[in-house]
């Protein structure tokens, strides 16, 4: 039995990508020479048109897929042992992807169960994670009994339950209505603020990227390359007021113009 890695809550994992390229059989080049450095604890948004290789990139970082060439390194300042990588990572998909035969609590505890954490310990951790996403009173319900927004929060809790140091999210709130999405964005930002993990957040939405991230990477259309790597000047505190501030609007314009350029296929 492994204990929940308590060191996990301290700091995030850094990331180095050098000329990462992924070509699929049949010749589609999804990602073409991406270089990127992410510092531990950074919140980075990745923006780009559909099909530009964002998911491919994220999957490669998660170790679910291998780049055809290039260097991809996770830098873990707190790593005590090697091969610890699996449990330090968490991944959130566009849809919740819960197990319909498990109730909310057991869905959230699932990662710990697979890692061999003892039953009472993982139940505690799952309860804690669910409270963080405001679902403390829905633990006995089944996914079919939840709304889309609640399911997504369960999915987020499932990702947070291992106290990941690198959280990868692939358009997690894209299927939700605007208000729900804004609320979840604020919640995610709060989670990050408290836990201090590194976050890579893939999105189509300029508004979401500008609101959430400290840094936004905009990609060209396929084959994906980086148009701009932009540091946002919005400060650490984000709230409803952020969305109406002048800086926010200005940052959105910067991202919008970069997306336009990327869509014409012009890299930086």
């Amino acid at each position: 039995m492994t204990a929940i890695p308590t060191s996990a809550s301290t700091g995030g994992i850094g990331l180095t990508l050098r000329d990462v390229r992924r070509a699929f059989l049949g010749g589609v080049v999804a990602v073409d020479g991406i270089s990127l450095d992410v510092a531990p604890g950074e919140f980075v948004a990745i923006l780009g048109p559909s099909g530009c290789g964002k998911s491919t990139l994220l999957r490669a970082i998660a170790g679910l897929d291998r780049p055809t060439s290039g260097l991809l390194q996770l830098l873990d300042p707190n790593a005590k042992e090697k091969g610890d990588g699996g449990r330090a990572l968490a991944y959130v998909f566009q849809d919740a992807h819960l197990l319909p035969w498990r109730n909310v609590l057991r869905n959230v505890a699932m990662p710990l169960e697979l890692m061999g954490v003892a039953a009472n310990e993982r139940a505690d951790a799952a309860r804690n994670a669910l409270e963080q996403v405001g679902l403390g009173d829905a633990m006995r319900r089944y996914p079919a009994q939840l709304s889309g927004g609640m399911r997504m929060r369960v999915s987020l809790a499932r990702a947070m339950v291992t106290r990941p140091r690198l959280l990868l999210l692939d358009e997690p709130f894209a299927a939700l209505d605007e208000l729900t999405r804004q609320r979840l964005d604020e919640m995610l930002r709060g989670l990050w603020d408290r836990a201090g993990m590194t976050v890579l957040f893939v999105t189509h939405s300029i508004a979401e990227a500008a609101f959430l991230a400290d840094r936004a990477v905009v990609m060209t259309r396929r084959p994906g390359r980086v148009v701009i790597d932009h540091r946002l000047t919005l400060g650490r505190e984000r709230s409803g007021a952020t969305r109406t501030s002048e800086v926010y609007v200005r940052e959105m314009r910067v991202l919008y113009e970069a997306l336009e350029r990327g869509d014409r296929g012009e890299p930086a």
């Binding site: 170790g63 679910l64 991944y91 992807h97 197990l99 109730n103 697979l114 890692m115």
Partner: protein, 259 residues
């Protein structure tokens, strides 16, 4: 459920039955149809319930056939599941062996049943084997389809958290495949009854054996009575699996509890 609800539910399927029975009864009594071709429902009822030793023989035969069908079905369920799991263990295994699993679907059981008797003898084993052969393929095919259509995102998640093959099988693949498995079992249940009866044609005994006897004696009332009993057996097995399915899938769909 209230009595009114039950009535509402049973009325549609029962009405055609009553109409057909009444028509049969009238047609035979009026002499429009010869009694040795179509029995009156009352004579079928007589054969089933009030024919003394004859009736008892029939219900005992039902139990025998039930035994053979259940055993054959259980064998199909267990072996079919195991075969499907083994087939998904590697791509080459599936390519190598699945074509032979398909073989079971195409076996003309009438033709092969006499062979089974030579191999296994004139007893229950032949009946069970016959029920197994005709019912195993739907279990294999449906389980396989279920195991292969697991949500790729969930597979990724299990990989990410370092789940082994066994954990992935029991915590992800088999539960995901449950609806497909139940579909396979539902089909297999009906086929197992047919397989058992065909086996009994050759071995004698059970409903199949009794049908042979009744046919030779030109007792259409008995033949119909036996048909009713085999239908009853099929319905019971089907309902049991439906019940099991309803219970095990009750959390999957929000509407399930309402229907």
């Amino acid at each position: 459920m209230s009595i009114a609800a039950w009535v509402k539910r049973l009325l549609p399927p029962v009405t055609p039955l009553v109409v057909v029975f009444a028509a049969m009864e009238v047609a035979v009594r009026m002499g429009w149809v010869k009694e040795f071709l179509v029995p009156t429902p009352t004579s079928v009822f007589h054969a089933l319930f009030t024919d003394g030793a004859g009736s008892r023989e029939m219900w005992e035969a039902l139990l025998r056939t039930a035994e053979g069908s259940f055993a054959g079905f259980a064998l199909s369920a267990v072996l079919g599941l195991i075969v499907a799991v083994v087939l998904t263990s590697a791509g080459w295994v599936q390519r190598a062996f699945y074509p032979y699993a398909v073989f079971f679907q195409t076996v003309p059981i009438i033709a092969i049943a006499p062979l089974l008797v030579i191999w296994l003898g004139f007893d229950l084993r032949t009946v069970v084997a016959s029920a197994f052969i005709v019912s195993v393929f739907p279990v294999i095919a449906n389980t396989l389809a279920g195991l292969l259509s697991v949500d790729p995102a969930l597979r990724d998640l299990f990989r990410l958290y370092g789940a082994g093959r066994v954990a992935t099988l029991f915590k992800l693949k088999l539960p995901s495949a449950l609806p497909s498995i139940l579909t396979g079992l539902r089909i297999a249940a009906g086929l197992a009854v047919i397989g058992a009866i065909v086996g009994e044609f050759i071995t004698g005994g059970g409903l199949g054996g009794l049908i042979g006897v009744a046919r030779r004696e030109q007792r259409v009332d008995k033949v119909f009575a036996i048909l009713l009993l085999s239908a009853l057996l099929g319905v019971v097995m089907f309902s049991l699996i439906n019940l099991a399915g309803r219970l095990s899938l009750r959390h999957w769909h929000a509407s399930e509890s309402a229907s």
